[in-house]
Amino acid sequence: MKKAVFALSVLALSATATVAADDPIAVRKALMQANAGAAGVSAAMLKGEMDYNPAVAKAALATFYGVASAFGDYFPEGSDAGDTRAAPAIWEDMDGFQAAVGEFRSDAMAGVQAAGENGPADREAFQAAVGPVLENCRSCHEDYQLKRN
């Protein structure tokens, strides 16, 4: 499992490297997939569907931080058109959008710091570290993501 999470993060970052130049939509989708994977293992551990593992928890937090650090760079002018659920609000209010990404990033950074060298000690510590990070998903999607119809 640990390996899977690391593989996921690495995958996301390498995807970034290979398609970055010409396809920002593909990159930001890959970054969100990495987020979804990290949220999936986080939730599975918080719900007890998966045994708690501090290293996996740390990897999830690191993934969020990595995604948050890069995500805001992939919304150039003109990338609102295409196969994307990115809302026009992003380009209408780029400062607000970047601030929202910045909040996600600082919450993720705080989570990584709380995780320390060996990851959050137990499920409760992980909940405290990752909870504020996960809060960002919905609030940002509400403002800047189109509904799936």
Binding site: A36, G37, A43, K47, R138, H141, E142, Q145, K147
Partner: protein, 306 residues
Amino acid sequence: MKAALAAGALVVAGGLVFWLASAPGTLPAEALAGLEDGDAARGERVFWAGGCASCHAAEDAEGEARLRLGGGLRLETPFGDFVAPNISPHADGIGGWSDEAFANAMLRGVSPDGRHYYPSFPYTSYARMRPQDVVDLHAFMQTLPAVEGETDGHALGFPYAFRRGIGLWKRLNMHPGPVVALGDGDEAVARGRYLVEGPGHCGECHTPRDGFGGLDLANWLAGAAAAEGDGVVPNITPSEDGLAGWSAADIAYYLESGFTPSFDTVGGAMVAVQENMAELPAEDRQAIAAYLKAIPGRPDGHRPAP
């Protein structure tokens, strides 16, 4: 002359029939007899299940502000604009109402002064609630902050502005019995049915409506055109078009956290609903999930735009 008289008599008779058929029907006097006094603690659970705050608190209200039920949300629908009224315990809201008045509103859609409410207030679902839950809910709502101020009235076009006509609509569309026949064996499914079909009023958005706004119960929860705008409310039956790919645990977790199985997030009008559902005990979310997995799966009920 005779023919004119006869025609006149017919018009009068027709009018009389309409007037009688559309009369607001209140609860029988003994409807609340034998109930315990309203219990605010139990009523809080009913309050979150009922989703009152979604329309009657200020839009985007968070935290304690969700308990300030001054109304004001505008639902812009093809029938006209409906405005959620003040239902806080202030004289401008429902302050001073008796349990009977409150129960007539919830279970019959009739106001204390004997008029029909418009079914934008989802009493077609609330009519399935247990009277004890209604009285408990009333007790809880009396503990909430009193908010001053009356909202605007509804702004409806002809013929919908004619309120008495709702009496006929109710004859066609009030079905206080259970919607889905399910065995009585499973307690969670039965609880889920009560929550979904009654207080949760899920069918009001997730079930398609006919041209007069009546729910098409043959397509129960199969998804519908949104009441506002040109969006779609998803199919939540266990079919390929709906939630077949979601486990009961996925549904319960979505209602708790707002995350879908692919870790997308809840959106649109469902955000406020999910926030209410998150306040319920876990067993209620599990019951809703059990019911949604137990009902018949149906293809999408969205109707093509007219």
